[in-house]
């Protein structure tokens, strides 16, 4: 969190967002100015009303003033409505644009970024912070334009009413503004901590909601509740502290203003100044009326602060690095020759490299299997190929071209990727299978892919078949069913390179066998990388690589490795030994 926040500079960054809606802004500003002007005019009418209307008993003037008042209030109402509407419209547009930009940015952010973020935090920024920015900046604008203009207008009215009386104010105003700034400075830091507090609540709630089953089975209900109570109480008392300090400014300022008023009255009384009731009432009313804009002005600082803090957090997100997509090569369909050349890679969150000077060459159309202990580096190999993470040491080539030279879109179109963590989307089964390419496939295509993935028979049992809604992340399906849909999803796309990372781990043997048969047909003319623990599934691979500590230990087909009687042979014995 930045320590010194210059609100104005931060909010200036908003201008490019506001620019497209300039017209609405000008209309709103105009409305606010008009509003302030009518208010000041209304007050100024008191003088002619009292002096000329009542004292001089000019009744026709009274009637004229009556009509003027109604007219002014109508104008006031109209300008108020227009300015409010325009400002809301404007801030709605800006905030929505922000939200969409952040969404877009997050989609394009690298996986390493997402690994470090909490989902709850990000959701809170997109929903809560943007809301706060919108409210704070429009409040700030209203205060800036309307209240300042009003205060100025009232000063003019006062001076016009009686310059002698009004001159006292000229001394008071700077004093008041000085005090206001002083108090505003006092709680500069607390606004940021209020947001952080909300973030804490979001994260704590999110954790519990996601791990609810664990909470139940481990009887941790009381523990979670207690924890949450502590957090919420901390946030509450923090916010209260802000209130206690911030509320002091208003009464202080009003007292000072009143002293000015009292002084005027004293002057009038002791100096025997010749003041008409009208002049006096005008100055008196104006002075009472000016308290409101002055009070609003003190919170201007606060609003600007709130806005700046919210703004800063949003821009921080927008400035985070995106996935590097500097490649320019677009290819329709690669042949599928893969080569890893001296690749060393360390995850940003770990200390030791996951792959160390790793070398591997795969010919197009080969099926290779990666086996080894968990954490040995197999999934890393699978993650680097589609550039989920970017390497800095070594090279990864497809068809002899460095993968960083392809455009990301083109690269990923070549690779079909299924992992053991399946994420499905809220929608129908068909929509999920055709995810991202809805228009390109007919229902027949989808059904065919479902059949190949051995998913068709459970799909047919559902009421709406392929058009059944599957719920949040397919929660209504069993693990195996979700995996089959994920496989169908990839099969539909006909990629020249396939990566299956424990893609069948949740399936029973029968389903796996059936998919296996379908895959064997598909794997012809495709380069496939299969990671599996069940050695029975990979015995037919062209090459089996045993990976340990980020290096290739053994390399050969099933028969060769069994003859070698090395690690693979051992693993094989263990799995089939009863």
């Amino acid at each position: 969190m930045p320590q010194k926040l210059n609100s104005i500079t931060t909010l200036k960054k908003l201008w490019p967002f506001i620019k497209p809606f300039k017209k609405a802004l000008f209309v709103a500003v105009f409305g606010l100015l008009l509003n302030a002007a009518t208010d000041a005019t209304l007050i100024s009418l008191t003088k002619p009303l009292l002096d000329n209307g009542l004292m001089d008993k000019n009744y026709s003037l009274l009637i004229l003033i009556a009509i003027t008042i109604v007219g002014l209030i109508l104008l006031r109402g109209l300008s108020n409505y227009i300015s409010t509407y325009c400002l809301s419209w404007l801030s709605g547009k800006v905030v929505t644009k922000f939200r969409q930009m952040i969404f877009h940015h997050l989609i394009k952010s690298p996986i390493s970024f997402h690994d470090k973020q909490s989902i709850g935090d990000l959701v809170s920024v997109i929903t809560f912070n943007t809301q706060m920015l919108s409210k704070a900046s429009s409040d700030a604008l209203i205060i800036l334009i309307r209240e300042i203009t009003y205060a100025v207008g009232l000063c003019i009215v006062m001076l016009y009413g009686s310059w002698k009386l009004a001159s006292v104010l000229i001394i008071l105003v700077p004093l008041i503004i000085f005090i206001a700034q002083f108090i505003a400075k006092k709680f500069r830091h607390t606004i940021a901590s209020m947001q952080a507090g909300m973030g804490q609540i979001t994260v704590a709630s999110d954790e519990m909601l996601k791990g609810h089953k664990e909470v139940l089975i481990f009887n941790a209900k009381e523990y979670e509740k207690r924890n949450f109570n502590i957090i919420t109480d901390k946030v509450r008392s923090g916010m209260l502290k802000i209130e206690i300090v911030s509320r002091l400014s208003t009464p202080l300022i009003q007292l000072i203003a009143t002293t000015g008023l009292g002084f005027i009255l004293y002057l009038v009384a002791s100096q025997n100044l010749d003041i008409t009731p009208g002049s006096f009432t005008v100055v008196f009313s104006a002075m009472v009326a000016v308290m409101r804009p002055l009070r609003e002005l003190t919170s201007l600082h606060v609003e600007l602060q709130k806005g700046a803090v919210a703004c800063e957090s949003l821009f921080e997100l927008l400035n985070s690095p995106l996935e590097h997509d500097n490649g320019t090569i677009v290819v329709d369909r690669v042949k599928g020759n893969i080569e890893f050349k001296n690749v060393t890679y360390t995850y940003p969150t770990r200390n030791t490299p996951a792959l160390n000077n790793f070398c591997l060459k795969i010919d197009a159309g080969q099926t290779i299997a990666l086996v080894g202990r968990s954490g040995a580096g197999k999934s890393t190999i699978a993650s680097l190929l589609p550039r989920f993470y970017d390497i800095s040491k070594g090279e990864i080539l497809i068809d002899s071209i460095n993968i960083q030279q392809y455009t990301l879109k083109s690269l990923r179109k070549q690779i079909g990727y299924v992992s053991q963590n399946v994420h499905l989307f809220n929608g129908t089964i068909a929509e999920n299978i055709a995810y991202g390419e809805k228009e390109l496939h007919s229902e027949d295509d989808i059904l065919r892919a479902a059949k190949q993935a051995n998913a068709i028979e459970f799909i047919n049992k559902l009421e709406h078949g392929i058009n059944t809604e599957i719920g949040d992340n397919g929660i209504l399906l069993s693990g195996g069913q979700r995996q089959r849909i994920a496989i169908a999803r990839v099969l539909l796309r006909d990629n020249p390179i396939l990566i299956f990372d424990e893609a069948t781990s949740a399936l029973d043997n029968e389903s796996e066998k059936l998919i296996q048969k379908a895959l064997e047909v598909l794997q012809k003319n495709r380069t496939s990388i299969i990671i599996a623990h069940r050695l029975s599934t990979i015995e037919k691979a062209d090459r089996i690589l045993v990976i340990d500590d980020g290096k290739v230990i053994e390399d050969g087909n099933h028969e060769a490795l069994i003859k070698l009687n090395g690690i693979y042979a051992q693993m094989h014995k263990m799995q089939f030994n009863s």
Binding site: I63, P251, L261, Q420, G436, G479
Partner: protein, 590 residues
Amino acid sequence: MNRQNNQKYINDIDKDYSTWKTFLKLCPLIMEHKLVLSFSIILLIASAFADTSLIALLRPLLDRGFSMNDQNFLLMAPFYIFGLVLLRGIANYGYSVLLSLISGKIVMKIRQRLFSHFVEAPVSYYDQNSTGRLLSRITYDTDQVAASSSDALITIIRETAFICGLFYTMFYNSWQLSLSLIIITPIVIALISFISIRFRRLAKNMQNSMGNVTMSVEQMLKGHREIIVFGAQEEEVKNFEKVSNKFRRDSMRLVSISALSTPIVQVVISFAIAFVLLTASNPDLNITPGEFTVVFSSLVALMQPIKSLTSVNAGFQKGMAACQTLFSILEQPIEKDNGSLNVNRVKGDIIFKNVSFKYETRDDLALNNISFTVPAGKTVALVGRSGSGKTTIANLLTRFYEITDGEISIDGVDICEYTLFCLRNQIGLVSQNVHLFNDTIANNIAYGKIGEFSQEQIEEAAKKANAYDFIKQFDKGFDTVVGENGVLLSGGQRQRIAIARALLRDNPILILDEATSALDTESEKTIQKALDELQKGRTSLVIAHRLSTIENADKILVIGDGTIIEQGTHTELLNKDGAYTKLYKSNFNE
């Protein structure tokens, strides 16, 4: 994808309570702070009194001070004024701080109740509500209630008192001029109520749109890898544009109504002012400047409180709409815990008798008249195709769901008769979806009983789960924080921690639901040894696809389509040459 229309899975019960009824429900929470509240109300009235007096002061000021040139009065006036403003200042500060205190506490209470309710909610509730939506209830919706409770109270009491004071002042000074009030008051009230009804409906729409925005963002963040891999960025962005624009439009509709109310009311008052002027222009009535100014100023002063009242009504409506949603959530059923039996440690005899069960969101029976027994200390393995009902059996034993037919008993007692706390203390569960918490490894292993186990016990459990080695490799060892849902660990490492978690608790009943699915053969073998050791003397329900895991079970149940197809020992079933044999053979068949 038409995500917004997935209303089927959103279980919001929208009963049509009026704002008032909702507010009444809020009252008990407010009443907890009776004393502070009463004091605040006194301060509010004092503030209104000060304001009214300031205006009333105009009459003597003008009539005696100016017209009659009473010097003494003019000299005293500043002190009166100062005194009144001081009173006002103290009262204002006092009530705003006190009410902040109260509303902060109330909102915190509601948040805690909501959280508590979500903790106690049955698993089926989570099947039907996305966590994103529930999250926005806790964060966004309670915040709306905050905005409304203290602001609303301040405005309603203070401005009402102020209006009453002004009315009194006006009539006291000149009843003739004040006649117009009698006409405009009902008009204003009618306008306000008409607008507020429309407003409330719009506020609710906006709330729901917000929930959809939250949900979309969550979906995108959770499914990020899929989006990248399937190149679905455009689609997701377009969908979000739709959802966020809908929210924008819903808020604009709200604004157009609320922005309208103030100007309309003020125009009505302007007519009253005009009336006053016309009346004053009647030469027959002898109105002093003082009387006139007071009535006139009072009328003008009326605009502010009325404006506040109408705009706070908007905020109040919004707050009550949010409040109603929250209360209706709180009224939904929590997990049934009607049992009263508390046992230290069950023996572990499990009996399923004619159990049938259907998930709420599906039509077919997940389990159909299942019956089987597991004597204490024995291991039962459940095998079958994925989706056949194995995990459901585990879900029912832990009472994540309630059965519709039949009986499940432990040690001859229906599981519904145990308290949930006691029941779940007897059962250890390791499933295929491991959820870890953003806390240290040690706290994850001891989750639910943090502080009840020593460091040695935790490390011992980790050793048995074959997790000790990799944990020690981290800089902070057992004190390493694992990240959100253990994102910083590999799949196998997470599962081993989950196994350690179960081992630590030493439950008499153990459910292993594909507990080793993410492990490589070597780790699985080592853990298998530990699990075998653990299973001695414990009743174990093991669900796995790998037949090597279950061959040593005391009994094997072959589940298919929610019924038991075959049961027996490994040898018995092989001899039957039925479904089990088929499954067994397919594990090795080329």
